[in-house]
Amino acid sequence: MERVVERVAVTGAEAVANAMRQIEPDVVAAYPITPQTPIVEYFARFVADGVVRTEMIPVESEHSAMSAVVGAAAAGARAMTATSANGLALMHEIVYIAASYRLPIVMPVVNRALSGPINIHCDHSDAMAERDSGWIQLFAETNQEAYDFTILAVRLAEHEDVRLPVMVNLDGFILSHGVEPVEFYPDELVKKFVGELKPMYPLLDTEHPVTWGPLDLYDYYFEHKRQQIEAMENVKKVFPEIAKEFEETFGRKYWFVEPYRMEDAEHVMVALGSTNSTIKYVVDELREEGYKVGSLKIWMFRPFPKEQLQELLNGRKSVVVLDRAVSFGAEAPLYEAVKSALYEVAARPMLGSYVYGLGGRDIKPEHIRKAFEDAINGNLIADEQRYLGLRE
């Protein structure tokens, strides 16, 4: 099939909604008021205009949205929803249940701060609150990646060795409401790539009746959790295969992480999401000035690509980790994961933790430069949490 792409200037929300249109899931359930995102607004229009045959269920809360999607997926449908911030927090209980039932749900999440105080802007506190829920978590740097991951996530979620839900994270406002060029693939090509869902133990298969959601106490709960752990481990094997097929189909290469100017880099910055763009801009500037710096973008946060980080960061002089979320009373989530991954490497780099951008505080090139300068000057303390762009 010919790959004729359409290059358009769109918001991240529109890009993701377009991926959902192309995927055309059987069921989308969503709670259609704040804190929702334009993703659902766009998608509802596709449904209303008859562009897709998806069953759209407007529900009375986010908790119900996730419940409806869980029910639909258990019945054997391809089911999606989208949410943000406090909406995701309200889903929380059922988010865990979706993962423990091994339901291949795909959910774009527009990352925004959790209240309070009330704030609608970008940070990663919503996604981090679901870090241990058992969902695969992908983070997009650009609107293109948000579009691509929504498509790719369907295959990853539905792979028989995985069967886990996937959150596609995109930064609130910066991507969701920001316009930049995106290349859309032809509908037929996307439809061919995602294929048909192969339901496993669907409720609607009345020839083979099954029970979903029974009581599971000390007799088997632990074994079921062990299987869930195994499924998450399998992502590490399955993801590169699907990413390869994605590349062959659409021409874009994805992996667990994206190294940028890392070959001879002595100082490396690690971050999630859209801030990686500004980091690359600063890396280019510092390279022009003769500093050996690079960056490492984390595309997949859960499962955490520990082995890839160990391989790429072993022997560097320093590693600076930027977090757009905090864990009160402990280290910031990405920093904690990177620090833990580097415990066993042969030549452990110096480490620095920088929290930035909470509640949508702008992250500027000068902030990133400051953190790099600390690394270059050997001024890092592994047990100290520092802040960028904060009044003190």
Binding site: T11, G178, E180, P181, D284, E285, K364
Partner: protein, 191 residues
């Protein structure tokens, strides 16, 4: 600091005046003209009438930086009640300040203290006369295209046809194109 890589615009308006749509339309037109583009809004309180900003970056190379535009080449003010020295923050005197107002350059200069090039256009009246609605973003876009030459006027006209074509009758499209063209023709600049 390294040389500026992108052409940057900062829009100031009130929610509902169309700054976000105008910045988006400009990005779409510039993309069609073969440029790399970015447009993003910055919301404060999400309610009609609240001050808001929107940003554009347009360049010949892939645009990486995502922070708010601090040193714009052009500041566009859609609502003259927002004029103050703060509005020209980061705008160098080589830059352009474009304002929707019935008043003159001196008024704008006095309100902002800006000593560079000031351009004014009565975009609200143009919008009221042509589109019959006081949403001045289309004539402002016309004025912006005139004073910067960032994209050809025809590129914006095409975007208007495409954007409104699906939802509105021909007379609405024509009214918007007239408003655009009048903004382009009627903008006046100081020297």
């Amino acid at each position: 600091p390294v040389a500026k890589k992108y052409f940057e615009i900062r829009w100031h308006g009130r929610a509902g005046q169309g700054a976000k749509s105008a910045s988006q339309m400009l990005a779409e037109a510039a993309l069609e003209a073969g440029k790399y583009v970015q447009a993003f809004p910055e919301y404060g309180a999400e309610r009609t009438g609240a001050p808001m900003r929107a940003f554009n970056r347009i360049g010949d190379e892939y645009i990486r930086v995502r922070s708010a535009v601090e040193n714009p080449d052009v500041v566009v003010v859609i609502d003259e009640t927002l004029l103050s020295p703060a509005i020209v923050e980061g705008l160098s005197e080589d830059g352009i300040l474009l304002v929707n107002t019935v008043k003159d350059f001196e008024f704008v200069r006095k309100k902002t203290g800006f000593n560079g090039k000031i351009c004014v256009v009565d975009a609200t009246d143009i919008a009221l006369q042509e589109i019959k609605r006081g949403i001045p973003n289309t004539p402002m876009l016309g004025a912006l295209v005139r004073v910067t030459g960032i994209v050809p006027l025809e590129a914006i006209e095409k975007r208007i046809e495409k954007m409104f074509g699906k939802k509105f009758p021909q007379e609405v499209i024509d009214a918007n194109k007239r408003a655009l063209r009048r903004g382009y023709e009627e903008v006046k600049c100081s020297e």
